[in-house]
Amino acid sequence: MQLVAENLVLERGNRKVANDVSFTLEGGSGLVLTGPNGSGKSTLLRALAGYLRPASGSVRILGIGGSDGDTGESCEVGEVCHFVGHLDGIKSHLTAAENLTFWATYLSDRADSGHSVAHRVYDALEVFALNALADIPAGYMSAGQKRRLGLARLLVAHRPLWLLDEPTVSLDTGSADILVKAINRHLSDGGMAIVATHLPLAIEPARGISLVRKEAQA
């Protein structure tokens, strides 16, 4: 399994935010994006997830097959990734367990069929230490607890690629460690992760890409 980005040029409102970004990511390894505010980390992640069409260049994911029987030549990255952005994707009128149950059902893949939805939700709540809050509406939770609930989505359905945009925002140090452990376990299972962050996170094995801010260009 391989994620290949070739000569990506990304634009926001006619302004180039990323110029000629190329990298190859192998299964089992991570990529850490760093760079100052406005250097295009979020834009790059949104482009990789398929929300934003690159001005030129391409993103391909190769060797995803077997699990769903297609030829595995290449497929849409959006179909095989978890995307965690700045917003948590949590409904404040639903309880923590209801939020995760919905995502577990909605995002369910063939690789998940071995475990029931309830089982996966229970495990994810336990990993992120949210068991005690399972029946509390997400609207009553603190920002850090909501963040953990949003991240727990990573564990309720299998996706080979995780795209995480500053996932440690509003997490305490203990929760950040839990997240790093979850990422490392995902990598050791052969998954891939791309993490944009300002904090040094102990993600192993990982390479780094440092983006620089482009001053206003024509």
């Binding site: 069409r53 995307f83 917003l87 948590d88 994707g89 009128h93 639903l94 909605y106 369910s108």
Partner: protein, 221 residues
Amino acid sequence: MSAFLALLKRDLMLSVRQGGALGTALGFYMLVVTLLPLGLGQDLNLLSRIAPGILWIALLLAALLSLGRVFSSDHEDGTLDVLATGRMPLEMVVGAKALAHWISTGIPLALTAPVLGLMLNLDIAVYPLLMATMLVGTPAVSFIGAVGAALTLRSYRGGLLIALLVLPLYVPTLIFGMAAVNGLLGVSGTSAAMLILAALSLTSVVLCPFAAAAALRVQMQ
């Protein structure tokens, strides 16, 4: 398919939990229909003649109220981004959400119409037909409205813009809805009008998700 049902179920559950959308729509529907006789005077013949039209137009306006929230609430909390990943195409996401809007708003409004018809001296014989036209016609209201909601997702005060975009598109539904009701009131062609109304609804159910999904993709960039 389980993803489609999960999304439909979640949207219905949210509309019950949040409560506001349906209550506002029904309250607005009742108020508009109550105000009109006060403005038009006590001519019972006049009221009963124009009652089906009043009920239909007020229903369209009431349904518009909750359309703005169809995608924006999911957009604001980041849910829409996640819904767009995964195997289910965005067109199906739109379909599930528009269907949920129809079930949670269109059907209750159509079922309320006879109660309001009483206030307008509407002939009781017309009730079943009026409700039938509304139940057949309101899917078009929800699905066409979803296109407007998707187009105005990120615009400030999108609610008013939706009305401008979408109300003209409701004209065929209104015309044939009224034609079907008036058929019983003396003009011919009820069944023909009813069939066209059904065709309008089915066409919008099939085509609107594609338009709305295309609009959402642009808005999510």
